[in-house]
Symmetry: C2
């Protein structure tokens, strides 16, 4: 399948995907000048920046996004640092073919600043979730989760570093499974088919 | 400290506490005839049954509970299978000296049937939380958490078995820490002091 990676930050997950030979044909950022765009450029992947200020509403934004995706024949999406909630129109267009990575063990700590949320709650274990995108906020069927224990004295930075290591390992694996049609989704349950 | 264990089920956590020589002086059940009462009896621990039908309201129930606790000089509580939400009066009387065990990685899946909730959500990792009791539902400061990965084909029963094994290990350890005044609580953060 032809994949687009939606980004907005440093692009460390994009780099992990590229290192894993994920079939990323297009990188779309909601922010100009971010590291993810440089990584895409260095890897020879087409880049598009669509900033919020270009569009009066989320619906207009997502219409433009959808046009770019279709013009490029994109069949599947991987969200990695794209800090915008997609409208139902985009979600529905890529239902079952859009993956998000989130730095917590969902359903705990959805939304922004999940690592900080976990530290403030005082949990002893957090982790990473890779899930299919549905219409809710970080609420779709879960493909992979991996626990990351919190250590005494952990800060947002030290904990984020260990969480990113897990992300870089399990996000490319999930993309590979979906790309090779090995994910069977039934309701909220995702079953991984043997190769 | 003199501890009471509040129960309502098979009593497997009570047994783990007794095996760990926890200073349980009293077992209170909200249900008659449960396994936990037999375990208490066999261990020579005093038992009291207080059923909901004896009292018109939760406030009346908890008044009776508090009277029993005070009459027995109870200084700390451990909730293990006690399926009733305590009123603020009891919670406040034992603030910082009441421990609950919950079969999920809180804040995910609070309340009843946490194992079933996790299976229905489709998470890949759940676990056990041991926490101080506050006025909310399974919302108090966390002492220990341990992850339990979900395996393909897991049922409520197979998963509960692995979760109970973790509970039986970490609940007695938490009781021992609180009993020896080694838990420093600051807001939501629980720091374990070295012995």
């Amino acid at each position: 399948m032809r994949w687009a990676c939606l980004v907005g930050g440093t692009g460390s997950n994009l780099r992990a995907l590229i290192d894993d030979s994920a079939p990323i044909k297009l990188v779309i950022s909601h922010k100009a000048g971010v590291g993810a765009l440089q990584i895409a450029h260095a890897a020879g992947i087409a880049q598009v920046v669509i900033t919020a200020r270009q569009y009066p509403t989320r619906e207009h934004y997502d219409e433009a996004l959808l046009r770019v995706l279709r013009d490029n024949g994109i069949e599947a999406l991987v969200l990695a640092g794209f800090l915008r909630l997609l409208t139902d129109r985009v979600v529905d267009a890529y239902a079952g073919r859009a993956i998000n990575v989130h730095p917590s063990l969902l359903p705990a700590f959805p939304g922004l600043h999940a690592v900080r949320q976990a530290l403030e709650y005082g949990v002893r274990v957090t982790g990473v979730s890779v899930h299919l995108v549905d219409r809710g906020l970080d609420s779709g069927p879960i493909i992979f989760q991996e626990a990351v224990p919190i250590r005494p004295g952990d800060t947002d930075e030290t904990l984020s570093t260990r969480i990113h290591e897990v992300e870089h390992r399990i996000l490319p694996e999930a993309v590979r499974l979906l790309d090779s049609h090995r994910l069977d989704v039934s309701g909220r349950q995702v079953v991984i088919r043997e190769a």
